[in-house]
Amino acid sequence: MNPLNLMRLVAPECILVIFALTALFMDVATLREQSAKVRQWVVGSLSGVACLTVMIWIACIRPEGSYSMVELPAVSFLLKEVLLGLTLVTALISFDAKFTRHIGEYYALLLLAAVGLMLLISSNNLLMIFVAVELVSLSLYAMTALDKTSPASAEAALKYFLFGSVAAAFMLFGISLLYGVTGQLQLDAIAGKLQTQHLEPIHYVALVMTLTGFAFKIAAAPFHLWAPDVYQAAPTPIASFIASASKVGSFFVLARIVLAGFGSARGGAGWGHLAAGWVPVLAILATVSMVIGNLVAIVQTRVKRLLAYSAIAHGGYALMALLADEQRAVSSLLFYVITYAITVLGAFGVVAMVEHSGGRDRFSDFAGLSRRAPLLSFCMLVFLLSLAGIPPLSGFFGKFYVFTAAISGPDHLQAFWLLIVGGATSVVSIYYYLQVLKQIYVAPAPANVGSLNISMPAQIGIVALAIAVIVLGFAPGLLLGRLNDGLTLVASNL
């Protein structure tokens, strides 16, 4: 029980916190007299350096082990690197954002949200998980409201906050019930207790309540109502962070809780063979999300809203992975979510660039984008086709793994109905992605707009993401191999 051991385990988080505070104080103390542009560059670069430093730290040190509430499975390092990478790109695309004067606060909150996400995947204790969820959520609420000139932004933040606190209350209630029936908060201990107990209704209530909180975080229907408004009204870089990094963290914890904690209350989702447990719950959330997300996306005319509904649908696809056996479930889920996060971050990045150049996110603002910014348009093409699941882009492999994972589990071919829903809705989804691409490539550009002015860091970030989408498409083994390596070590005690 050496506390230095704890320090070793959470050193990355600590370093990031220190960087966040430095960013905050640098802006408040030394940069007050400078122009907004200078502050952006200095504080933004500092955040970028922070992410890079911690990434390198994690890559070099890999402090495996566990201490008290912290337990680091091997796969968590990969996840943390991914999260930091996503945060880095988010910072890059906010370099020339004009939505706030509170630059130090913005980057500090961004880094703190990243810390929250990292803690989220570092813990196997429900209490700690809850605290980490709150840290992420509070940072995100505040960031959503940062655009003080926009009433919509404040409104979305309020809505996000209210809805989020209801969800947090449900989650906390579920956790307390779980604690009530098992007397434990550590996931492995809970699993042990549950195995010996006969499952009563109270167990299921506890389980559903806990899952509800996460269903909110991943915006699974019917707990998705906040998502379109928040994605639409929040400043675009923040929306992209909510859609990408926070999804990765939440999905991993969801998987960890259900697989490691509730393993014995699995249930079944075969057609006509539904059995009580978390699997049918997730199967239903997945179905509703896929249907609602894809259908409603069709009639959207704003790109951010469209991406929000598509995010709901993708949440549904990702949930399908959890029907598989333990390791398969986690690896296909993580592969799906990570590739999705990379793709959607890129797509939002392009939207942000259009907005910075004076546009908004209506379809008409994207008309003729291919003539105004050819490289960016090509990246958008890659992102949208990947979201639509066209091979050989990474989105297709994600879907393929998830589909095969869903029927490789104990339900076997009886879970095929989910695949049919998933496949049919993904056909529908192509329609609206093509709608956006049609605006970009076919529609004539308005007469009075010139080419887009895109800052270098943002361009680098977006192009890097596009390259990642393509490379992971041709060689999914790169990511999948690392995921599997990380998981084989801990498959039993995830």
């Binding site: 379109p228 009580a276 259908l295 076919v442």
Partner: protein
């Protein structure tokens, strides 16, 4: 030796991709060089394929090369090539016909401002198509399958400034995706039940244990057939192909006549061992129905490319029917000969269109015989081959299909096949008489002249192939694939069909005569189409393609759009006020929205949230 052959196979596949990449990254500004690179790549590919083929003829061992690609759980997939009778024949068609069309495009696309982009897309297409042909497993094939779809999308929408082209590209893409969705699900079930997606493994698993697919055999067969329905434009997903004619004519010739649309048929032949009798029945019926439907529609079209497109549909129907009748070798045979003469017909049509400055209405042509002699003669040969005139190639391949139907005792499909042959002759000679004979029906014809050499030579080469393709042993070659033990028939047997199944052969020739006579009777020296006046109702239905487009549009509007609107309405209703007004952004509205939030909406949210939770709990507990 095998290693060298494997290396060659890799080269065949990747040369076009290399060309596409080089053009896309370095040669955008150097169109002439881009064309040269693209043409060189496909010609070298062709030569290498010929080498592989020659080697294979001498030592028939299947070339297999593979590298492990990815593995997750018990799903192991490799990236591999497989060169046997079937894939070598198809690769020869793709690269051979492809080379000619590449060369033809050099002149046809002259002066287009996206010359380099055209050749890059064409090379990308060649690569993807070869990928389908040489794949050794379903997964890899599916990826190339989609890549082909993407490159076809790029090429149909090549002139994206035209809204009709952009719409056609979208339609083709979406329609194909419906088929592919079934295809993918089929592959996944297949993998889930047999544990493999590799063709050779599947073959041996099924040979060893025929019962392994029990219960899902029909589902798997039909789902996989879905893929072919989409790609080969069979009923009910046939609507995209005629619209795809918005692309440049060489593209129509290569992709939407000779190769890509045949990929569905090729795939069916590749996995013909999978299908159970019931699904074979469905496949055959679908094919026959498509053949008839498309042939009927073609009778009343006036756009030269659309007539050919419907004719392609109809011929693809023949091929699919042949697969369903347990005659994959007949299907492949017809696929090959069809590639020759249909590519030639399209290139001929392109030559005409080129000469007439992009006029496509056949009633504004006429009298081109003397102005464009090479086009005229090759087009005549193509028409005769398509109709199935002895001893041109079409006769042999069509006869193979008809006799297959006859031998199987499926007289219904046999009659349909003969009827389609009759219609084919009728509409092709309608086209031919109106376009090339009679007097000039428009001014543009007066200035028409023969196309440049680089366009007419490919026509001549294809004409030779169309004439000889029937009796040089293509069917016998590919038959090895499906029945390795069958005795080798004499190759140069021009009279073979008459001896083998006289009924089919004579019926085929008889209806050609009838069709030809009818076309002469109606369209000799006609200046306008007399049928709409005499049979207005029939003509209207045919002209409007039996209203399939309208029906689908209505259906989609009814289901998808209204569902989407309902779902959206629910979402909007639930968060009404907030998002509708909040997004307007004015302070006043914000105040009102906030009030709404305080008086009602938060409760709505919480209520909905709680209702969702209650629903899920009830579901879990009391189901």
């Amino acid at each position: 030796m095998n290693e060298l052959l494997g290396f060659l196979a890799w080269k065949v596949l990747f040369l076009p991709l290399l060309a596409a990449a080089v053009i896309a990254f370095f040669l955008q500004a150097r169109p002439r060089l881009a064309a040269v690179v693209s043409v060189m790549a496909v010609v070298v590919s062709f030569i290498l394929t010929v080498v592989l083929y020659a080697q294979y003829r001498n030592y028939p061992t299947v070339v297999q090369v593979a590298i492990p690609w990815l593995s997750i759980g018990n799903l192991n997939i490799e990236f591999g090539l497989h060169a046997d009778h079937l894939s070598l024949l198809m690769a020869l068609v793709v690269t051979g016909v492809g080379s000619l069309i590449h060369i033809y495009s050099i002149a046809y696309m002259q002066g287009d401002r996206s010359y380099a982009r055209f050749f890059a897309s064409l090379s990308l297409f060649t690569f993807s198509m070869l990928g389908i042909v040489l794949s050794n497993n379903f997964f890899q094939m599916f990826i190339f399958w989609e890549l082909v779809g993407v490159s076809s999308y790029l090429l149909i929408g090549f002139w994206y400034e035209k809204p009709s082209a952009a719409d056609a590209a979208k339609k083709a893409f979406l329609t194909n995706r419906i088929g592919d969705f079934g295809f993918l699900l089929g592959i996944i079930i297949l993998w889930a039940t047999t544990g493999s997606v590799k063709f050779s493994e599947l073959h041996s698993i099924l040979a060893k244990n025929p019962g392994v697919l029990d219960g899902v055999a029909t589902a798997v067969s039909l789902l996989i057939f879905c893929g072919a329905v989409g790609k080969s434009a069979q009923f009910p997903l046939h609507v995209w192909l005629p619209d795809a004619m918005e692309g440049p004519t060489p593209v129509s010739a290569l992709i939407h006549a000779a190769t890509m649309v045949a990929a569905g048929v090729y795939m069916l032949c590749r996995v013909s061992f999978l299908f159970d009798p019931f699904s074979l029945q469905i496949i055959a019926t679908t094919g026959g129905f498509t053949a008839l439907l498309a042939a009927l529609i073609a009778v009343q079209q006036n756009d030269i490319k659309r007539i050919l497109a419907y004719s392609t549909l109809s011929q693809l129907g023949y091929m699919v029917m042949a697969v369903g009748l347990n005659g994959p070798s007949a299907a492949m045979f017809h696929l090959t000969t069809h590639a020759f003469f249909k590519a030639m017909l399209f290139l001929g049509a392109g030559s005409v269109i080129h000469a007439l400055h992009h006029e496509q209405d056949i009633w504004k042509m006429g009298g081109l015989k003397s102005k464009m002699p090479i086009t005229y003669w090759t087009f005549l040969l193509g028409t005769l081959a398509l109709c199935g005139m002895w001893p041109l190639s079409g006769f042999f391949s069509k006869d193979a299909i008809l006799s297959q139907a006859f031998d199987q005792g499926n007289y219904f499909l046999f009659v349909i096949g003969v009827l389609v042959a009759f219609l084919t002759t009728f509409y092709m000679f309608r086209l031919f008489l109106v376009v090339f004979l009679g007097g000039a029906k428009a001014h543009a014809v007066d200035h028409a002249h023969e196309s440049p050499r680089v366009m007419s030579w490919p026509l001549v080469v294809l004409a030779v192939a169309s004439v000889c393709g029937g009796f040089i042993g293509i069917e016998q070659f590919v038959q090895h694939q499906f029945s390795p033990s069958a005795e080798v028939e004499p190759i140069f047997d021009i009279m073979g069909p008459f001896a083998h199944s006289p009924a089919a052969a004579f019926a085929g020739l008889l209806v050609i005569f009838f069709g030809f006579s009818l076309a002469i009777a109606i369209y000799w020296n006609a200046t306008s189409d007399p049928i709409p006046e005499k049979l207005p109702r029939l003509s209207r239905w045919l002209r409007n393609k039996f209203y399939f487009d309208e029906l689908y549009a209505r259906l989609i509007a009814l289901t998808q759009d209204s569902l989407a609107k309902v779902a959206d309405g629910c979402d909007r209703f639930l968060v009404q006020g907030l998002m509708v007004r909040g997004t307007h952004g004015s302070v006043e509205f914000f105040g009102r929205a906030l009030r709404l939030l305080q008086t009602g909406n938060l409760q709505t949210y919480a209520l909905l949230f709680a209702a969702g939770v209650a629903f899920v709990i009830c579901f879990v507990l009391f189901r």
